[in-house]
Amino acid sequence: MGEEMSRKPYVREISKTTWFLRQPRYMRYMAREVTCIFIFAYTFLLICALGSLADGPDAFQEFLNSLRSPWGVLFNLAVLVVTAYHSLSWFVVTPQAMPIQRGEEFVPGNIIVNAHYGAWAVVSLIILIWGM
């Protein structure tokens, strides 16, 4: 028991750039977050499509051709996987962000999640039928 102050708390530094390698759940989180890069890029692809549409049939055909390049195919494939992951990760957390209370009970989370999956399927189907 010294008279003088003997506290010396030790602070463990956390790497600002590699922290997420520490735990699988952080990796899952980062995977979810980087979906935005693909969504960003894909949205610009849509904007380009829109631009070509505005420029007339030739420009549009050119856009379609460019889509058909190996890079175009690869890009679309990648975006498909990534956005599907985004959708799943988004629906899975909706009951947390927007719980529904009926009387004394909360509607069980899995019901809300499943309802979202169902709606997702319906919306996708409508888009596909409409788009084709």
């Binding site: 028991m1 010294g2 008279e3 102050m5 003997s6 506290r7 010396k8």
Partner: protein
């Protein structure tokens, strides 16, 4: 040594300490309040209370009924004026807590719900699911954050009261994180340090319940009262002592022996009631002392189930169904599954009686004042004598509130009564003595005794001699043993020489507190040659109102066993009668 000057200092930030602090802050924003606690307030053991808090609120209930249940439950060792004050204040305090946000369970119409509890003739226990104490503690702690005048000293361990000029003027405390001693100077001190169940091996009490508050007052000259009355709770988990609340039985759980037979009717608590339809004050809803004693008899008859953790009886709740268990007793289910690997929905749970609560404590009057001027006490560490020889479940959470506030009001009155100025030099000298004592303990390294070793011996002898049933012979042995342990305590060795967060030192200090309290328990029990409430003697089986309708007062002596004195029980309107839990006499 740093000196912290304040008006009122409170030792302990559990239910009682926090309630006192809030009452002080509300009464007068000019009062400086120091609230010190050896753990962060929400770690205090009030958080473990599950069942609920009693207070008359429903139209079918009355203050008289609560009075009768309490006094009869306490086997007439209660001071009836104190009980009267208590039951009058109880509903107000519980409503006050509701106004502070306590999430009490509700009736469909939005009014607070009440549940039945052992020894209570009417449903009057307010509850917040099965985490009542937890919610009370957190509500109080969070509410206390509203008041800037409550200055908290978290993780400070009070070591000695400072008494000068015949009154208590503060205490010394160890700042745990730095290992430095501080002197708290206060015009009034309230002790709210909780109970001391840790002096027994099987207990529902957390590690911090080591009787420090009682020992502080005791060593400073205030007597401990009725320490021999130690409550066993009939339904603890056998391996950890974790409590399964009385609410289990309140909701309809039953106790059966190894033959699957309910047995309480054999011990004066019958006639047997239908399964799942509990009747108040009989069978499973009899008082704790009787239920624990019935266990002991069943064990002697060989009717208990032997498990890897020792002898048990079974608490069967299966007939309640999963829905009700989840709704009313979710914590109980969680605890059983987690710590015993057994699900009460599917199987009966083995349980045994475990030490739960100390009816005794620092002697206070109905004002929460101790005989030492300037010193007040409230909560489990105090003995205002509303619990008598056996506390009724759910009276103690209410007691924290009622007498926590009462202690605050008395402290204010004391502060405002115009005190002589304190003699700083004298206080400093006493504080220095205290520091020297702690330093000497800290420096001990040659000793041959270990803290863990002494603690084990203490627990063992307490269980042997001062357990559910006692005899003069066993008690005499326990008294001798504790006296011996107190001497050997001087020979302990401390291995940890670091100032910062030295838990070795803390455990040594806590062991000192427990030994002092344990001696008061054992000596009090040895000399009370009767059976009453939780104090049951096999050699004196009858209650003896002639000689023992009295409180035991134990006065500390540094090297010898305590000196005992007796004080008459205050009786106002209920003459001692027979405690009847047969349900026959409706």
């Amino acid at each position: 040594m740093e000196i912290i000057k304040t008006d009122v200092a409170i030792v302990g930030a559990g239910g009682a300490g926090l309630r006192a602090a809030i009452a002080l802050a509300e009464a007068d924003p000019k009062i400086r309040i120091a609230l010190i606690s050896k753990v962060y307030p929400m770690r205090s053991h009030t958080c473990a209370a599950e069942g609920g808090a009693a207070g008359v609120i429903k139209p079918d209930d009355s203050l008289d009924l609560h009075f009768n249940d309490t006094v009869g439950g306490g086997d007439w060792l209660c001071d009836q004026d104190a009980v009267e004050y208590f039951i009058n204040e109880a509903p107000k305090e519980l409503i006050q807590l509701e106004h502070w946000g306590c999430p009490w369970s509700r009736e469909p119409d939005g009014s607070v719900a009440v549940r039945p509890f052992g020894g209570m003739k009417i449903k009057r226990t307010w509850f917040a699911a099965d985490k009542s104490g937890f919610h009370i503690l957190h509500t109080l702690f969070q509410t206390s954050l509203k008041y800037p005048t409550i200055q908290r000293f978290d993780e400070y361990y009070a070591t000695d009261l400072l008494v000068d000029d015949g009154r208590c003027q503060g205490f010394t405390a160890l700042e745990i994180r730095s290992g430095q001693m501080k002197q708290f100077q206060a015009k009034a001190v309230i002790i709210a340090g909780g109970g001391g169940g840790r002096m027994f091996p099987f207990t529902t009490n957390g590690a911090i319940k080591t009787g420090d508050g009682m020992a502080l007052a005791y060593r400073a000259g205030a007597p401990l009262k009725d320490m021999e009355f130690v409550q066993y709770h009939p339904t603890g988990l056998p391996n950890t002592g974790i409590l399964l609340t009385e609410g289990c039985r309140g909701e309809g759980g039953i106790l059966v022996n190894k033959h699957g037979r309910r047995y309480l009717q054999d011990y004066g608590m019958g006639p047997e009631t239908p399964v799942g339809q509990p009747v108040l004050k009989t069978m499973e809803l009899g008082p704790r002392d009787r239920l624990s004693q019935a266990f002991w008899h069943e064990q002697k008859k060989g009717n208990t189930v032997s498990t890897q953790w020792g002898d048990c009886v079974l608490l069967d709740m299966r007939h309640l169904g999963e829905k009700k268990i989840n709704e009313r007793l979710p914590f109980v289910r969680d605890l059983s599954i987690s710590y015993l690997g057994m699900d009460p929905v599917k199987e009966p749970i083995p349980i045994r009686p475990v030490v739960h609560y100390m009816m005794g404590g620092i002697h206070t009057d109905i004002q929460a004042a101790t005989p030492l001027p300037g010193l007040f006490a409230a909560g489990e560490c105090a003995c205002v004598s509303i619990n008598g020889a056996n506390r009724l479940g759910s009276n103690s959470l209410t007691e924290l509130l009622v007498f926590g506030r009462r202690a605050a009001l008395s402290a204010i009155a004391h502060v405002q009564s115009g005190l002589a100025t304190s003699n700083d030099a004298a206080l400093a000298a006493k504080a220095q003595d205290s520091e020297n004592r702690i330093r000497a303990l800290f420096a001990k390294s040659q000793g041959t005794e270990s803290i863990a070793g002494l603690r084990k011996e203490m627990m063992h002898t307490m269980e042997e001699g001062a357990g559910i049933y006692r005899t003069g012979e066993e008690l005499a042995k326990t008294c001798d043993k504790i006296a011996e342990l107190r001497q050997r305590y001087a020979g302990i060795a401390l291995h940890d020489k670091t100032s910062v967060y030295n838990t070795d030192l803390l455990q040594a200090l806590e062991l000192g507190s427990m030994l002092d309290c344990a001696e008061a328990v054992a000596v009090g029990a040895r000399d009370r040659t009767e059976s009453r409430g939780a104090h049951q003697r096999l050699d004196f089986t009858a209650r003896d109102d002639q000689n023992f309708l009295k409180h035991t007062l134990a006065y500390y002596h540094p090297t010898e066993p305590p000196r005992l004195d007796y004080l008459d029980v205050v009786i106002t309107k209920s003459q001692p009668g027979v405690r009847d839990y047969s349900g026959a006499k409706q």
